[in-house]
Symmetry: C2
Amino acid sequence: MLYIGVDLGGTNIAVGVVDEKGNTIATASTRTLAKRPYQEVIRDMGRCALEALKKSGHDLDEVHSIGVGIPGVANPETGVVVFCTNLGWHDVPLRDELQKMINKPVFIDNDATVAGLAESLFGGSAGTHSSVFITLGTGVGGGIIIEGKPWSGFHGIGSEIGHITLVADGDMCTCGKAGCLERYCSATAIGRMGREAMKNHPESLIAANCGGNPDKMNAKVVIDAAKAGDQVACEVFNSYIKYLALAINTIISFFDPEVIVLGGGVSAAGPFLLEAINRELPKYILFKTLPYARIELAKLGPGAGIVGAAMLGK
Amino acid sequence: MLYIGVDLGGTNIAVGVVDEKGNTIATASTRTLAKRPYQEVIRDMGRCALEALKKSGHDLDEVHSIGVGIPGVANPETGVVVFCTNLGWHDVPLRDELQKMINKPVFIDNDATVAGLAESLFGGSAGTHSSVFITLGTGVGGGIIIEGKPWSGFHGIGSEIGHITLVADGDMCTCGKAGCLERYCSATAIGRMGREAMKNHPESLIAANCGGNPDKMNAKVVIDAAKAGDQVACEVFNSYIKYLALAINTIISFFDPEVIVLGGGVSAAGPFLLEAINRELPKYILFKTLPYARIELAKLGPGAGIVGAAMLGK
């Protein structure tokens, strides 16, 4: 059988036809244009699904189901998108609307959760008993997978790792709360810390690498300079790593999964990130002599969104 | 069938015979005397089990299994106590040793986890899909229950809620790490905050109620004075409630259980605690308009340890 996966983002709708083994055999995409009525956005999802299917050379008869990863909160049972900030969606009956076009079972879940599902099936946590996927991007998202199934909690609001409190009374988060994990562990956080460090260290490589322009400072600038051994960049990076290790320890102390997978923009730092975390994390682990979660890099890249969504129906 | 539950503490071994409905029909107990060889402690567990069974008027034939809640980390599969700080135990083959005396299936798990299991079967979270139990005592422990089964994680080190980081770079915890949740959310924390407040407010009711003696200050003194409307006590209590609400929000944001149950010494504050939490918690919830975990008080008291341990075998 084949599975259609839809990665619904604030900017683009990306759709793929995925086989049993998690290979994406054809894709199609279009702009989301989120300000349109939701019916139009969903119609474009359906259109892209049929387009990708045509490209794949297969028939609708061979499609088992359609899965959709959404940047918000879904109710997997009713197929309703409960809440989706950057689309302005509230109680949108996505399943019913999509089934008007394509009469197949439709499954929906949070985008980070479905990316975590893809990693747990075919990527960094493949074959594990339990895993937590963390996306370190503009924000911080999470996906909890238990025995191959996504866990989004009883009310569908779980795995929102970014808004765990890491520093009570700390810096203000975009959500309006102080001290959220996202404020310290996102790619955005590295860029912000880089900008602050650059002010006091105009001689640093991070300042040179963005031409002294704060608008050009980002996680990659800091990490590349840290890899090159720039002291200021290393200090920023190490400070970031401390927060990320504390966040990972929180997941271990509370949930103790078999594997924690790091994805999103920051994970592009690769083994440099992994080695830094594996040096820092043991400081915070409670039971020093016992085994704890292995930390892995995400393997599937941005395509995990399509693959994970597709696999919701498997 | 009947189930024997053993609550192994640093001070006492408490054993009960429990029926299918969670009623403890007979008990026996003895001192742990933790410095003895573990074989002697386990022999006393067995002795108490047989004594309680005799008191109950039932036969060993009617006993399905024995469950043991331990103050540490267990490997439920091997029946080995991996680590138990206040008993000084390390890799103790509890199951094998206990079966030398009583040839029945033996199950072991963490004490807070089994108390959470008891609450999820017969107490504050009875009949729920998923729950997290939090003990607010000398320290802070936790128990995660998913569909009626305890979740202790892949390596058996999960639900150690007390050592999640709540305040990065915060106050030092007894575990040697800075800013642990336990440091801010335990009964001990209220007492400590009370002692600090008393220094600056010798006129307060909390100072009067412990006769100005810092050694007599504890959570109950603060909470009783707060209930009586003492302003200094209310400030201490509200500060505690803020940290506890942040901690609860972390559990909701990450795991999103159906119910969170508050147990341990602080929960004796009853509805006064519950009302305070329900006022404070909504400030920190990410999705303001969506339902989230109900907060309940533990219903079973200290007996939950025996009942939950017994139910491990059910």
